[in-house]
Point group: C2
Chain length 192, copies 2
């Protein structure tokens, strides 16, 4: 019998896909093993524990999201950049609700934790959106938290099916992006 040829990355990727399909809570070692054509205990040759697996998925998410944001923000600034970042985050979360769910509630061990680094890179991309708005440097962290809270909240609620009247969700999204764009424009240094 030939081997399955697994490695930590393959296991992580399969787990992420399974999470998106059946929900993070249903990603059991047995189900994951079955999908990989292997028995559950064999997975422990590649990952330490389920907590370790979640951590690896979260790292994957941070990398994927960071890549997607950098890609989307290339050559854009101001309102274009804002809309692109918002759409990128929304699309990613709605498309990958299971893997995204791993990113809430994880203990970052230290500043050299790969997860902390990848997360910081995501935040850096969001911060890049703010450049063209020329926000007062002292307010930058607040504006960044606004974007993060809003995008995270909107996409999370949408992914959970929390909005009624599905057809209007796109309109709400556009309206909110416009709302933030106008608000940030008012806060340019020159306007105070």
């Amino acid at each position: 019998m030939p081997r399955a040829g697994l490695d930590p990355a393959a296991v992580t990727l399969a787990a992420a896909g399974l999470a998106d399909e059946v929900g993070l809570a249903n990603v059991t070692m047995g189900a994951l093993a079955e999908r990989l054509g292997v028995r559950a205990p064999s997975l422990y040759k590649h990952i330490d524990s389920q907590a370790d697996l979640n951590r690896r998925i979260a790292l994957l998410v941070a990398e994927e999201l960071g890549d997607a944001l950098r890609e989307a923000l290339q050559g854009r600034s101001g309102r274009d950049a804002l809309a692109a970042a918002a759409r990128t985050m929304r699309d990613y979360i709605v498309k990958h609700p299971g893997r995204y769910a791993t990113t809430i509630r994880l203990g970052v061990t230290g500043p050299d934790d790969p997860l902390a680094i990848a997360g910081a890179r995501v935040l850096d991309s969001l911060a890049a959106v703010l450049i063209a708005y020329r926000i007062d440097p002292a307010d930058k962290i607040h504006a960044l938290r606004l974007l993060r809270s809003l995008f995270h909240g909107f996409a999370t609620i949408e992914a959970a099916g929390g909005f009624e009247m599905n057809t209007e969700v796109d309109d709400s999204f556009d309206w909110i992006v416009d709302f933030v764009d106008r608000g940030l424009s008012l806060r340019r240094e020159s306007s105070e």
Copy 2:
């Protein structure tokens, strides 16, 4: 031997408290039973299953949050109301992260589901914040979703310890409330 004198409400309340203390994931039937001075299977005399328990906690949250919002919004309008609603939601979620966590991912069965009704009442309170801003009725749903996404996102991230530099979180919160207030003020019917 005397009886413990439990009922569904007492079990739900104890579970909500335990969730806040140890995290929703650690609310096991055994731990909950122990806190109530009872053995795990006895809990099934009061609740149907763990899913049923989560549902009951979520309903409790919707009622508590609705009550708190109505209380806080009494006699306030405009910016005051916005700030009060934001603070109420934030305080509640940060103080009760475990029980609040039950409100994500729950299937509402129909429009007469008590959970749907209680949830709608929470949204009604948020909608009351918008009255004084005299938003164009067609935009009301979008503004409501803005508030909901933002408050939910901010408090969720804060409760999960997602913001660095803890001391500045209060400042960010105030800044964001101010940002939304100004943005909504611009959208009064008269201003378009």
